[in-house]
Symmetry: C2
DNA sequence: TCAAGTTATATTGTCGACAATTTTTATTTA
DNA sequence: TAAATAAAAATTGTCGACAATATAACTTGA
């Protein structure tokens, strides 16, 4: 069962880490399941060395937990951890919005308004259907994060936090959110950024994420009825 | 040249990672220097396997940068990166202070007031000398971070960010800060937490860190005159 | 003398095998 | 039968050796 296209990285370890990350985020490797080094090594056709390096990286990304002499397990999603992650996201993306208000160039602001217009058109055409996961809702947030210009902040949010955030989304299918409400909030945030109102942009972004967190919490409470 | 006490962890890799981390933060391994796997392996008396794992972990902590087929280098401290790190710290510790306002138990508030009293007494007795690095100024911040109750936030701040923050302090000896001013700010923050004023606690903590950032920036500008 | 190309050296990446530890299975005993 | 103990199997941790790549040293030609 070869896993999708194996985009050749310069080193096996990076390649494996990338593939494993996707497999976990998309649920191909289920939550809480054990990561067997021997098994995965055979499956990916590599030795245990690079595989172990990949696992150590995944541990750094917070996708697996490792205990000495026992091995690695995929993290288990639960509401409390999700709320913790979103609290961090609220703080960090709020800061990103503030910084973006100072640094985002005019052209990018214009492009983002266009992006929101496209979202609007999509909703009008598809009877308020959610946009497709990838590149839709996320895109707006990622663009603002990048506009912050803070490379460490960008790395942490896009490479670490968003991995587990996407994982939550994948595992609670529909987050039952009103897309038009989200779009309105996006527009308000962008307005604040366009006007260089850092305080307001941060406030609005934090509220926006806080609301998303509450909605995701409700969705999880309904979805994950404990067996 | 064996490096301090080698506290035996359950696995060599963890042990080495810990020792390397300390060596880098304390400057025993200088900034920008290359990490030679063979050399370090011989020095610590282990094989290259566990050492590589340790290096991968350090990369995750942001203490070294790795490039494929070339190796790892200790990060180089500069003002821009420091400002980026402190911007993240501002956002995250601000959130920690807010959460602490809701969750910190009464007894811990009392203990923290005692801690500040001790700091005050220390300053009175030692003619405004800075407290010793370890456990002094940091302690207050760490206690608030822990009081947030957000385990992910705690891990990120204490294990990742504070590693490089301590590195900055180590490499710019004296940060030329008025300790009494810092103490006053600490007290104001604690007051807000004691009164469960989350908004205020966050605001004060962010200002406090922002000021520290500015001062450290000035110190670095004087210290690091480019050759 | 300098530049480009070539060889040699050193360093990292990968592999398979062995040691140490944990988990499972089997056995014994109350 | 159940708990405790002991043996066996499986899994992780560690090691040394080889392959692939990058860096250094050297040669050659203009």
């Amino acid at each position: 069962m070869s896993n999708l296209v194996s985009v050749k990285f310069s080193t096996l370890s990076e390649d494996i880490a990338q593939q494993l990350s996707r497999a976990i985020v998309q649920g191909h490797i289920p939550q809480g399941s054990k990561i067997s080094e021997a098994e995965l090594a055979k499956q990916y056709g590599v030795s245990r060395g690079p595989l172990r390096e990949a696992i150590v990286k995944l541990e750094g990304l917070g996708l697996v937990t490792r205990t000495a002499n026992v091995g690695a397990r995929v993290i288990e999603l639960n509401i409390d951890d999700m709320l913790e992650t979103f609290a961090m996201r609220e703080a960090l993306e709020g800061m990103a919005a503030r910084l973006a208000s100072e640094k985002m160039p005019e052209e990018e602001v214009t492009r983002l308004y266009h992006l929101l217009d496209e979202h609007q058109a999509y909703l009008d055409a598809n009877h308020d259907e959610h946009y497709v996961q990838q590149g839709g809702n996320d895109d707006f947030h990622l663009r603002i994060i990048h506009a912050s210009g803070n490379t460490k902040l960008i790395r942490l949010l896009t490479e670490e936090l968003y991995a587990v955030i996407r994982m939550y989304r994948h595992h609670t299918a529909d987050q039952r959110r009103d897309p038009r409400q989200a779009l309105r909030e996006h527009r308000a945030i962008l307005d604040a950024i366009a006007n260089h109102e850092g305080d307001l942009a941060e406030l609005l972004m934090r509220r926006h994420i806080s609301r998303a967190s509450q909605l995701l919490k409700q969705a999880m409470e309904q979805c994950l009825v404990k067996p």
